[in-house]
Every structure is written in C-alpha cells, then in structure tokens.
Point group: C2
Chain length 221, copies 2
C-alpha cells in the first residue's frame, strides 16, 4: 500500500504547488494575472495537467477564497485576548476592513464566487467562512451577555455589524467612495465605530467622534 500513499502524497504536493503558484500570480498581478496558462507556466507543466488536480479554474479560486477566510480567522484569533467584548468587536471590524484594503482583489473574489457559506455534504469539518461567522456571533453574544441583553438578538446584531463591515470593505475595494467621502479612511472607521456605539446602547454616540476619544484611534494599531 506504500505505492498508493506515495501517489496520493505526490498528488497533494502537486495541488499545493498549483495553489501556491496561483497565490503568487494573484499577489503579483491581481485577478487578471491568474490564468490557467500562467499557472501552468509557473509550475512548469502543460496547461492540461492542471485539470488532473483541479476540476476547473473555479475550484482553484474556491481554495484561494478559503485561504482568505483562514486569514480572517487568524485575525480574529489575535483579538481573543482583549478583555472588553465591545472593544473586541470594534477591533474586529477595524481589522476586517484593513484586511480588505490590504488584499483588495482577494477580498473581492472571496465574495464574488458565492455559495461559500453552504456546507457541502462531502466535507465533515466546518468550512472557514462559516467558522469565521460563528466566531463573530460568539463575540456579539459575549457583548450582549455582558450587558444583560437577550441572546435572541445575536443573529440580528451579528448580521448588522458584519454587513456594514462588508459594505464598507466592498465600497473601499471597488473605489466607490473616492468622490463624495472625504477624508476616506477616517470616515469609514468613524462610520463603523458610530454604528457599534449606537448598537451597544452608548448614549454618547451622538457626540462627534472627532471630539471624543475615538479620534485617537483612527490609525489601526
């Protein structure tokens, strides 16, 4: 049985090689640079060979998206030592948006492929996108719990927060705020902070963040 094992090992090595090449191309030239022929050239194989390890291009990109969500998971993990659950949520949003800005093409494709949340019957373990969302829900639950609010609100609040972060990220990534919103970075973070403050019941959320303590935290740590 050693021969089959070696073959499986080789195949998975090949998959990894293809995937790494895709990652490189993506990092170097963005989405347009990722073509099957370019990948083939990078791994020094013929284009047709790729189809022996991936059904089609979309499957490679799906893998890439999962990698993106794993990066988001790593970001969430870094925040686990923050004691204050509200501050943890605030930082989560901040990091989330920063991630989108640092990997715009990756972020765009992560939410362009579609259907990444659905758990396919074949996979046993939870997929990264779902895990990331559940982590967010946990953070929200901790926050609501801390102030004695009903946990039944968790799905709504989590969706409210995530959808806004996603909206801001998308608008930033697609360069849609260039015209009317100025200064860009500050407005985006302030909008996120404002909503979080409002949702958390902070009565002072009406006061301009520019005059409050929030102004000191405009730059990500």
């Amino acid at each position: 049985m050693s021969i089959q094992e070696r073959k499986a090992r080789d195949a998975s090595r090949m998959r990894e090689r293809i995937f790494k090449a895709t990652l490189d191309l993506f990092a170097k030239g963005g989405y347009p640079a990722v073509t099957m022929r370019a990948i083939a050239q990078a791994i020094e194989y013929s284009p047709g060979t790729i189809y022996r390890y991936f059904r089609d291009k979309n499957e490679i990109l799906r893998e890439l998206c999962f990698r993106g969500f794993e990066m988001l998971l790593a970001i969430q993990a870094e925040l686990s030592d923050l004691a204050d659950p509200l501050e943890r949520l605030r930082q989560a949003g901040r990091r989330y948006i920063s991630f989108a800005q640092q990997h715009p093409d990756l972020y765009a494709i992560m939410f362009t492929i579609g259907g990444l949340m659905k758990k396919d019957p074949g996979a046993v373990e939870d997929r990264p996108p779902l895990t990331a969302y559940h982590n967010l829900e946990s953070a929200v639950a901790a926050c609501l719990d801390a102030r004695g609010w009903p946990v039944a609100e968790v799905p709504r609040v989590a969706l409210a927060l995530w959808s806004q972060w996603h909206g801001l990220a998308m608008l930033l990534v697609k360069d849609q705020l260039a015209g009317p919103i100025e200064p860009l970075q500050a407005c985006v973070h302030q909008a996120a902070d404002l909503t979080l403050a409002a949702l958390s019941g902070d009565p002072g959320h009406r006061v301009s963040p520019l005059a409050g303590p929030l102004s000191a935290a405009l730059l990500p740590p």
Copy 2:
C-alpha cells in the same frame, strides 16, 4: 447645419438602440448574455459597428450602471411624500435592498465597475450615483435635524446606513447568506431596522423586533 444635426440625431439614436439591446440582453440572460456579438446581432449590425458609437464594452456597461442609479433615484423620489424623516430612511433602506434583489446582476455590476462616483471634468451635470448619495445625505440631515442633533454627523451617519444597505444587498445578491442566516428575508430587514433604530437613539432597539411593530412590515409595500 441641418445635415450635421441629422447625423448627430442618427448617431444618438444608434447609441440608444445599442443601449436598449444591451438592456434586453441583460434582463433576459444576465451579465453572461451581454456580449458584443449578441448586441450586434440584436441591432442587426456587424460587431465592429458598435465601436463607432461606444469606445468599448465598458462604456456601454457604464451607461447601464447610470441607468441603474437613475432607478434608485426614482425610488428615492417616491419616498419624498413621507412626512416622518425616520420612516423615510427606513423605507429607503428597504427599497434599496429590494431593488438589489429584483435586479441582482445589475446591482452587482453597478458596484463592480468602480469609479462611478467621481465626477469627470467633461460632464457638467451631476451624475446619478452622486445625486443618489446626496439625496441620502439630505434624508439623514432631515432626520438629525428633527431631533436637534449636530449636522456635522450627517456624513458619518449617511455612510453608516448606506454601507450597511450595500453590504446586505451584496451578500444577498451573491448568495452569501444562504447557509447561516435563516429566515433570510426577515433577518436582513431586521438587521437594517435594528441599526437604524439604534442610530436614531431609540432606547427600545434592544427589544426583539419580532415582538414589536416592525414584524408587521416584513414584506415591502
């Protein structure tokens, strides 16, 4: 000078014809159905002819996006007779998301093209995307004004609201909420209502909307 006028008229008629064909194809088969050859066949001309009236495909799609923003403007206009500014904002968000759901491919492309907000020096009149955003800012201003809050907050609140609507719309359109959020429609609208209530300073926003008056308005009017 009559001859040049007629030519200009013909040209603009041709542009309109091309654009209408694009619209039809888009409505019938979504974005993948919109190819230069398909447009050419629809208007009964050679593919090359299109390039005499549009620089490239992107310019046609830009036009299509502007048309989409004009639809959004029309939706905003319908809401102008609502007396309560808060209710106006609520309905604006509801309709915005409904629009995205009714024209998913159009909405997706409206925010994929990018740079639609920037006013190019050539155009005198304001472009629809900018107008739509300014309308939103006006609605927010009216709302803040009604409760004596500082108008300096308008940009932040407007961005906070719009980005969430956009985020929800994008997640819906790209079928990204299918797995974890259930029931979908209700959660989306509740998330939007929740954020608006929180931002408006409603102290009762912590109570589940399912028990409040919001549950009666789950279906768009």
